[in-house]
Amino acid sequence: MGASGRTPARGPGGARPRLAVWKFASCDGCQLTLLDCEEELLSVAAQVEIAYFLEASSAPGPGPYDLSLVEGSITTPDDLERIRHVRRVSTRLVTIGACATAGGIQALRDFADVREFLSVVYARPDYIATLDRSTPISAHVPVDFELRGCPIDKRQLLEVVSAFLAGRRPVVPPNSVCVECKARGNACVMVAHGTPCLGPVTQAGCGALCPAFDRGCYGCFGPMESPNVRALNRQLRELGMSTPELVRVYRTFNAGEEPFRQASEDADPELLGHEKAPGEDRGGRR
């Protein structure tokens, strides 16, 4: 995969490239990020034809699209079909956000019984069509690039869009949050006040926001390129985190990312008892 887009994305005859934004199970926050580019929105719109973006326009243009941004995870049988359609009509497909990239918070159902979840919320669960897993887009169709974050970062979104338009590799460094944290000039919250932090195992991109606000990173950008969760877990325990806390901290918005899943299971192997049998297909990726 990777994003070595060799030729810039251009529509036929040098027309403006056509952009589409799709939504699956999600909170809308990631696609809203596009509308939150207040200073850049009109320039983006001048460079690309925003051809399909239901949140913003009631004139959906027909496919094919040069670049599709996909938000949300796959949780229903219909969506399973729809994502295949999206892939067919898109030259390049980029997933935006933790839902699309890792299954999102709704992937917590993977650790429980979805029927039971249903009955907690709905009196008549039988009306609800849902899959028992929340899976990332890449579990169903090939993806050209995955942009992390819950929500994604606005600068990174613009970077990905402009990189795809210019035909270069997006500059989205997969290293730890610590690199950004130090560049920003934060004092490490773990070292300076013993606050547990997932920064060392989490991918950069947010600009080290949480430490800048005196709290530990909670991993909303998912695992960094070479996360040593075991080593971090030892330290987090030293700082006073209990086993259930450790399990919970990895089971939030990126629970479906393998290293985080692993980390939560490592933290408490016993918790595995009443969950799915090991080895069973987890519907994840990699």
């Binding site: 939504k23 909170c27 809308d28 809203l32 719109a45 009631s58 949780t75 929500p151 709290r215 939030t252």
Partner: protein, 429 residues
């Protein structure tokens, strides 16, 4: 015999995705469904077993458009359970954060989603081709809201600085200064926005809405208060479960909320305005009067004016708070868990948002209930549509479909925040 089906598939310019299905026979509507594709995400279920400190971050993810609202209702519900009340400068900061979200969310709706309806464009972006300065001014206003949320919360979507009891760190005056600067300009834009939208052409409709909103003795209620209704009812937040009942109706696509036994009430800007307009800031009241709004508003198409007025109020109040913001002693008040149930409600941009949590002595959540504004308005929106369509069934289908979309957008339904809308795939027979 005429038989007519109107479908508006892929409802646009609403946050989230939905569709409308209307079946009519012989000039009468037989069936009207506002369909929501939003797949269920089970927040209430996945909150069980989590720590009482987690709902602000977790429930923010219900809706990327009003995450602060979720954080505020969640914090207050948990604090109520633990017997803590956040007051003074910390409460002021919360309000400030909330105003930021109001400005952002309302402006998004007014400029990019709703105004194009009145001016005949498909989108705000398309509108920019002819009205670049207008849209740019709207974007600047929106940015002022976002910047305020980011200055206090770290980022506009899913802010990181909110915790049960207050904040992780209190931003310094220096950090707030640029946001304040932008707000001053934003207030001017907001005023211009009111007169701009007041000049739109509005269909002459009025509905006999039954309104529900918070009321606070000292302010135009946003962060907290008690509930009041337009038919004179009032109750405390903790009595919510006795008054508002959510039902799953087989022939409907959503959990329908009933207020004191009957369905079809309305929350949101029109409700707030009609119940509390006297408490708006003087500047906002002036703007409302100049725009021709009376003390109440029952024409849903005018909701865009009400939103604009609320933006003025938010800018005005935010500036007032910033100007006399005191430094809190600590960024948060400690909140110790105890076995109890807590209720919290606040006014999200789209209306009253209620949370309830039962926690145990160790702070683990046993039960969570979240009632978002859109699910409360669902039945009322359908009723609006019926009224609107039935006399106009002869219109060309496309025109009718457009009208319906507009009528839905009047209520700015945020479908993704409907934590438990249904995807119904079988009709009732």
């Amino acid at each position: 015999m005429t038989h007519k089906t109107i479908t508006v598939g892929g409802l646009s310019r609403v946050e989230g995705e939905g569709a409308l299905l209307v079946r009519a026979r012989d000039g009468r509507i037989e069936d009207l469904e506002l369909r929501i594709y939003e797949p269920p995400r089970f927040f209430e279920a996945l909150l069980r077993g989590r720590s009482y400190t987690e709902p602000p971050d977790i429930t923010a993810r219900i809706c990327g458009i009003c995450p602060v609202a979720y954080q505020m209702s969640a914090c207050q519900a948990i604090e109520a359970a633990c017997g803590v009340e956040v007051t003074g400068p910390l409460r002021d900061l919360r309000l400030l954060l909330y105003y930021g979200e109001w400005i952002e969310s309302h402006t998004l709706h007014v400029y990019l989603l709703h105004a194009p309806d009145f001016l005949g464009y498909d989108s705000g972006i398309a509108m920019a081709a002819d009205h670049r300065d207008l849209i740019q001014q709207g974007l600047a206003l929106k940015k002022a809201g976002n910047d305020l949320v980011a200055a206090i919360g770290g980022r506009p979507i899913h802010p990181v600085n909110v915790r049960v009891g207050g904040f992780y760190r209190v931003p310094s005056r220096r950090e707030l200064a640029p946001a304040a600067e932008r707000l001053r300009r934003a207030r001017e834009i907001a005023l211009r926005t009111v007169s701009w939208v007041a000049g739109f052409d509005f269909p002459d409709v009025e509905h006999g809405y039954r309104f529900l909103a918070l009321r606070h003795p000292g302010e135009y209620a946003i962060l907290s208060g008690a509930l009041i209704t337009s038919d004179g009812g009032s109750f405390g937040v903790r009595e919510w479960p006795e008054h508002v009942i959510e039902e799953q109706v087989p022939h409907s696509t959503a959990l329908h909320a009933r207020l004191d036994g009957s369905p079809g009430y309305l929350v949101g800007p029109m409700a707030r305005y009609s119940l509390n307009s006297a408490q708006l800031s003087p500047l906002a009241r002036e703007a409302a009067a100049a725009a021709g709004l009376g003390p109440a508003c029952r024409n849903p198409f005018l909701s865009i004016v009400v939103r604009a007025v609320e933006i003025v109020h938010a800018c005005d109040e935010a500036l007032r708070i910033i100007d006399d913001l005191a430094e809190p002693d600590a960024p948060y008040v400690p909140v110790e868990p105890r076995a109890a149930t807590g209720h919290g409600a606040s006014e999200a941009p789209r209306g009253t948002l209620y949370h309830r949590y039962r926690i145990d002595a160790d702070g683990l959540i046993g039960e969570a209930d979240i009632v978002p504004p859109t699910s409360q308005n669902q039945a009322r929106i359908e009723a609006d549509l019926r009224h609107l369509i039935e006399p106009r069934l002869d219109l060309p289908e496309e025109e009718l479909a457009t009208l319906c979309e507009r009528a839905i957008r009047n209520h700015d339904p945020c479908i993704s925040c409907s934590a438990h809308f249904l995807h119904l795939h079988v009709d009732s027979r």
